[in-house]
């Protein structure tokens, strides 16, 4: 991987972090509100089904985390397990795609 791509990976992680900072704040607020009186599928789906606002919000959230987490994982695997090179970069892309796919599937499940 060339140096410029490495710089862009660093920048992508920081930019996604800014997005995530806002998303996590809203998510934590929602969590604390939602757990009052226990969780039920009716309550959760009643909030999310057919809501364009929640769909947009959690869509952005999923994409930001799909960028953010794999780049962090790349550093962890390189530094703590000594895993470097093309194999690592390929794995990171697979993890990013998997997170995005699973996240979008979950989003579809609660919105549609």
């Amino acid at each position: 991987m060339n140096t410029r791509t490495q710089v862009y990976l660093w920048a992508a992680q920081r930019m996604s972090a800014v997005v995530l900072a806002v998303c996590v704040l809203v998510h934590l607020g929602t969590l604390i509100y939602a757990v009052q009186g226990g969780l039920s599928a009716t309550e959760i789906l009643g909030r999310s089904r057919g809501s364009a606002a929640w769909a947009a919000f959690y869509g952005v959230f999923v994409l930001a985390v799909a960028v953010h987490a794999p780049i962090g994982l790349r550093s962890v695997l390189a530094e703590w397990l000594g895993w470097r090179g093309t194999g690592l970069d390929a794995l990171v892309i697979v993890v990013a795609l998997a997170i995005a796919a699973l996240g979008m599937r979950a989003l579809w499940a609660v919105i549609a």
Binding site: R14, A17, V18, L20, A21, V24, L25, H27, L28, L31, I32, Y33, V35, Q36, G38, L39, S40, A41, T42, I44, L45, V65, A69, G72, L73, V76, A98, I99, L102, G103, R105, A106, L107, W108, A109, V110
Partner: protein, 115 residues
């Protein structure tokens, strides 16, 4: 030769460790979270069954831990963004104290509403 805990025992290093470990654990939790929500594809009852499972005390405790990890990673991450992107000043320990306070507040807030 490498450093041991004596070299690492200062605020910035502990903050790093919390950030890294919380990041790893949250990344591992993410697929489980998405798969659980995906149960709604099989209908409301399937999701409800998963939610009933989360009512066990141990699972509830794990949820509190997860919320604390998320809050710690977010607050610690904002601290890092401020250190990296704002003009440098001698405030990293102050930022750390604020991040710790926010994390604690979120954790307690969630715990009190959960039980």
């Amino acid at each position: 030769m490498r450093n041991d805990w004596r070299a690492r025992s200062h605020a910035g290093w502990w903050a790093f460790l919390v950030h890294r470990v919380s990041g790893i654990l949250l990344t591992l939790f993410l697929p489980l979270h998405f798969l659980a929500l995906g149960l709604a594809l099989e209908g409301e009852a399937a999701l409800d069954a998963a939610l009933r499972w989360t009512e066990q005390p141990l699972v509830k405790a794990a949820e509190v831990v997860l919320v604390v990890l998320l809050a710690a990673h977010a607050a610690g991450g904002i601290r890092l963004l401020m250190l990296e992107f704002l003009p440098w000043r001698e405030w990293h320990k102050t930022l750390l104290a604020v991040a710790g306070g926010v994390t604690l507040a979120v954790g307690v807030g969630f715990l009190l509403n959960l039980v």
